[in-house]
Amino acid sequence: MDILTLFIVVPVLTVIVLLFVNKLEKARLIALAGMIIQLIMSINLINEYMKARAAGDHAIMLFERNVPWYSDFNANYHIGVDGVSVLMILLTTLIVIAGIFVSWKIDYMPKEFFISLIVLASGVYGFFISLDLFTMFVFYEIAVIPMYLLIGIWGSGPREYAAMKLTLMLMGASALLLVSLFGIYYYSGTNGMEPTFDLMELANRKMDFAAQKIFYPLAFIGFGTIGALFPFHTWSPDGHASAPTAVSMLHAGVLMKLGGYGIFRFIMFLMPEGALFWQDFFLILAVTGVTYGAMAAIQQTDLKYINAYSSVSHLGLVLFALLMINKTAWNGAMLQSLSHGFITALFFALIGMIYGRTHVRDITKMTGMMRIVPFLGVAYVIAALANLGLPGFSGFVAEMNIFMGGFLNNDLYKQAMTVFAVSSIVVTAVYMLRLVGRMLYGPVTTVYTNLPKAFWYEKVAIGILVLFITLIGTLPFWWLQFIQESVDNFIKPLVH
């Protein structure tokens, strides 16, 4: 059992154990225990990874393991990590832990809740470690489908509708992805070679340009949909609004990152000419998404909708950066994925906590929360500031990398696009401060005067997230060292 497979085995075991308990107290402890093990393993993984790199192991992927699975399809269980995936795994672990703490007091079907949550997580882990398109796709779908139950059962509002819409849109997107996977697979089989799903193997084979032109957009939209690419983002507002807290956290924090990650790891890497061919077109979509999401967020009054649209805007930046094909921007993209993961998770956690107290998510209906729940209030202000890209928090470093990278392209069109994207920082400030001003500041709403202060488990969850937001924001070079080398490897096919 190698160091990476454990990341899937442990959740599965956790689920199996969970099957035999019923009480909330037991369930949450078991779930937590399983995830703590994951955390230890993640930290150990980072440690091992740094050791290996320090020892001068410059392989693209480390800790590789390649077990033939469906050998007559050349579909292998091929896993391995590089800097980015290591960080993504850490992100996942932390957010799942935070999610467990947030849903510490979940009353309705707790066992099933934690089971689905961890199944989802295991899918995500698998996605991040897999180096084989087949394996990747399997894990991708495993990660997507539990959302239906999670939103449908524990959600609020029009949960059935939202869950169905989310599932169908994501599955439809993955359908597009599937088609282009077949394209990649069979076009790798030309000139006498066995077709293969193996990423590293495919990298050595040159895919036909005509084919790339067809299959790249399919794949890009397939991944883009879960990454909230502009016209295909519409599942996310409803989905987030209806989802229970922990799920929104995990979904916006981790699941939506699958899009950018997949494009970075698989699509652009395997279809470079296609990427360059479609670059300008998708760039327009991405930039539109950035400003559009921010603009739409101004009008929202529901906390979760504000965040959903802000996610559209910020993940738009990830896609934008990926499309600005150069190293700085890509560093920014990956950093932004991490940063947005933590920030948005923090947001949804806080929203969940406030909603749990006031049972209202409409910012016009509550004021002066700062006085009532100071801890949450301060945390919310921190989250807001981090989200609008205040230096010292993770958002800033990521966005600066993205903008700088975008502007470094020696191409007026891209620079103009960058300027466009930069404008989003103002709009972000507008809706964030509007939210803070309306909800946290101002005179206290008397209805809510005697709400409970933050509980210890809530503080733990928030603490974890804030800690990492500041860690990224203040020590970007530490995180970038992981990202850079992986970006250097994966951008090679695209830059000549």
Binding site: K165, L168, M169, P231, T234, W235, P237, D238, Y292, M295, A296, I298, Q299, Q300, Y309, K327, T328, G368, M370, R371, L385, L388, G389, L390, P391, G392, F396, V397, M400, N401, F403, M404, G405, F407, L408, Q415, T418, V419, V422, S423, I425, V426, A429, V430, L433, R434, G437, L440, Y441, G442, P443, V444, P476, F477, L480, Q484
Partner: protein, 647 residues
């Protein structure tokens, strides 16, 4: 040059203080937190003055030129490319050291002052935490050795200003004011950021010493020569980069038209106004231009610098006019601040580069220095008055001279200083600005000249109406401020009287070479500026020393103009219109609608159509056996037909 290695302590101390106070804000109560904060600032104060001494008098100057020393704290905090990186470094040169002195002095005074002013305030500890945060950011800003680093601290001072303006966050006006301040400056910062990106892209560096070096400048200039196409309205793209950077400065320094946040910012506690919105943060724009002065001066023959001059001059005039008519004393001071900063910008704009040419530059810095002192003093006095009277409005005041003499005298000193009456600080700096302007352009000089008069007038209008004018009956008679507040006032008053006599040009100059400049007392310019100031004061005396009907007469005489000025030329309304009526209603709302109804609607439409379709075609499955058989047979026939046809 490792003599300045300790310098990183200067910003570090307030940072640690902020973290400590921030985390313990609940537990540590007044006044311990206050004392802690002040102690920290005292340390900073001492360090700064020591640094100034070391730099200016011991080892700053090498063969007749002040050295620019860079102390690197963290190389490559972020590596964009191998050339472009955010290095966390500290630059030590005349202006940064000078700013160091300004910031630490004013900040320390404000800390001491607030011990009294914020007494018995629920957010006492929070206040000191914020103050430390701001001081940290401001020190970082002045010491930053890297354009991007300056942007970082730029944002940080912005947010600490936001927090401090919104300090009384249960007051809606304060909340909206803080929001306004942050968003307007943020809007400017967007241009700043774009400017930075462009400068980095063309200049291939973010480091000030590299950017300001002759090699870079010549490189850029030659680039401009070879790429005429990259120009717009005859100015090259790099000039626009500089202008964008300057727009960032306009935002922070409340230059027209981005000044609208400054008056509202007066919602914050008065010490904050003194520290942030009078002495330190608002001059960041001036400092920024001074930082990049070689670029501004040399690129395309200083095209960007002309823009600076024009903006500065206009803002100076614009603000002075508005200040004439305001009723809220803090607003008057705010507009006077704006006007004075306009002055500084003007000074930089009209400045040359080397030796005596650089007079304007020197004068601008000098004015920044002196202005910090007396404007802080003015605000603090205003704070003391408000503290005593519990109101911001002049007509609630009057005849306070006998109640609070210290305040009155210190205010008088400051007022004289700002009006440019010798021997007070303001006179020297302002006079040199006018001299420089005169050499550069008569119109600008004349505007400056006019503004000097207006300044004198509205300052003394303020003075008289607060301290003399009429004998208002107060329900609980106002009394002199407590010792700690008075101490700050007196200290700053002393500074105001003293600093004018520093021969500033010995230390600060555009090309870092000290030169000698002195006042020609016989010079008509000097006489003129003194005279205009005196006339202003005289007019104020006539109109406001005693209650007279002149003011009403004059106001009615001006008629509409008066109303326009009183309403600050309706700038706020204009902005409100643009943001709410246009951006929110005409752009953002439609987008939100579009998203909910068109895009989302389309996705739902897909689902609905599918269901409708399945409802529509259900008749096929009619349940009638013979229909099925019919379909069956016709299916066979159809297939056969197709095959026959396609074959």
């Amino acid at each position: 040059m490792n003599t300045f290695d300790y310098i990183y302590l200067v910003p570090l101390i307030p940072l640690l203080m902020f973290l400590f106070l921030g985390f313990t804000a609940k537990r540590i109560k007044e006044p311990i937190s206050g004392y802690l904060g002040t102690a920290g600032l005292l340390a900073v104060f001492i360090l700064s003055y020591y640094t100034a001494y070391r730099y200016f008098f011991v080892d700053g100057i090498v063969d007749g030129k002040f050295q620019q020393i860079r102390v690197m704290v963290k190389e490559g905090w972020i590596h964009f490319t191998d050339k472009l990186a955010i290095d966390i470094g500290i630059i030590i040169d005349p202006i940064s050291v000078m700013m160091l002195v300004v910031v630490s002095t004013v900040s320390l005074m404000v800390h001491i002052y607030s011990l009294g002013y914020m007494h018995k305030d629920t957010g006492f500890s929070r206040f000191y935490a914020y103050l430390s945060l701001f001081t940290f950011s401001m020190l970082g800003l002045v010491l930053a050795s890297n354009l991007f680093l300056i942007y970082i601290f730029w944002e940080l001072v912005g947010v600490s200003s936001y927090l401090l303006i919104g300090f009384y966050f249960e007051k809606p006006s304060a909340v909206s004011a803080s929001k306004k301040a942050f968003i307007v400056t943020r809007f400017a910062d967007m241009f700043f950021l774009i400017g930075i990106l462009m400068v980095g892209y063309f200049g291939q560096s973010f480091d000030f010493m590299t950017l300001n070096s002759d090699s870079t400048i010549s490189m850029i200039n030659s680039w401009i020569q070879n790429h005429q196409i990259f120009s717009f309205l005859g100015l090259s793209i790099f000039t626009y980069a500089l202008i964008f950077v300057f727009i960032g400065g306009m935002g922070k320094s409340a230059m027209f038209p981005l000044h609208i946040w400054l008056p509202d910012a007066m919602e914050g506690p008065t010490p904050v106004s003194a520290l942030i919105h009078a002495a330190t943060m608002v001059v960041a724009g001036v400092y920024l231009v001074a930082r990049l002065f070689p670029l501004y001066y040399h690129i395309e023959g200083g095209a960007a610098l002309r823009f600076v001059a024009i903006v500065g001059t206009f803002s100076a005039l614009f603000a002075a006019i508005i200040a004439l008519t305001q009723e809220d004393i803090k607003r008057v001071l705010a507009f006077s601040t704006m006007s004075q900063i306009g002055y500084m910008m003007m000074a930089l704009g009209v400045s040359g580069f080397d030796e005596h040419e650089g007079l304007g530059y020197m004068a601008g810095m000098f004015h920044l220095f002196t202005h910090a002192m007396f404007k802080a003093l003015l605000f603090l006095v205003a704070g003391a008055v408000i503290h005593a009277v519990h109101s911001n409005f002049m007509d609630k005041m009057g005849g306070l001279h006998k109640h609070m003499p210290i305040s009155s005298w210190t205010f008088l000193i400051a007022a004289l200083a700002i009006s440019g009456i010798p021997p007070f600080a303001g006179f020297f700096s302002k006079d040199e600005i006018l001299t420089a302007a005169f050499e550069y352009n008569k119109v600008i000089w004349f505007v400056g000249f006019l503004v000097a008069g207006m300044t004198a007038f509205y300052m003394f209008r303020l003075y008289f109406r607060i301290f003399h004018h009429k004998n208002t009956e107060y329900e609980h008679p106002p009394h002199e401020a407590p010792w700690n507040m008075s101490f700050a006032l007196i200290f700053l008053a002393v500074m105001t009287m003293a600093v004018g006599f520093i021969s500033f040009s010995e230390y600060v100059s555009a090309d870092l070479k000290p030169f000698h400049s002195h006042i020609h007392w016989g010079d008509p310019l000097v006489i003129g500026s003194i005279l205009i100031a005196l006339t202003g004061i005289g007019a104020a005396y006539l109109m406001y020393y005693k209650q007279t009907e002149y003011p009403a007469k004059v106001a009615s005489g001006f008629g509409k103009v008066y109303h326009w000025t009183k309403n600050k030329f309706y700038m706020d309304e204009l902005y409100l219109f643009v943001t709410h009526k246009i951006i929110f209603d005409k752009i953002s709302k439609p987008i939100a609608w579009f998203d909910r109804n068109v895009i989302d609607g389309f996705m739902n439409l897909l689902g609905v159509t599918t269901e409708n379709l399945s409802e529509r075609i259900k008749f096929i499955q009619s349940g009638r056996l013979q229909d099925y058989a019919m379909y069956f047979v016709s299916g066979v026939v159809a297939i056969v037909m197709i095959i026959i046809y396609f074959r």
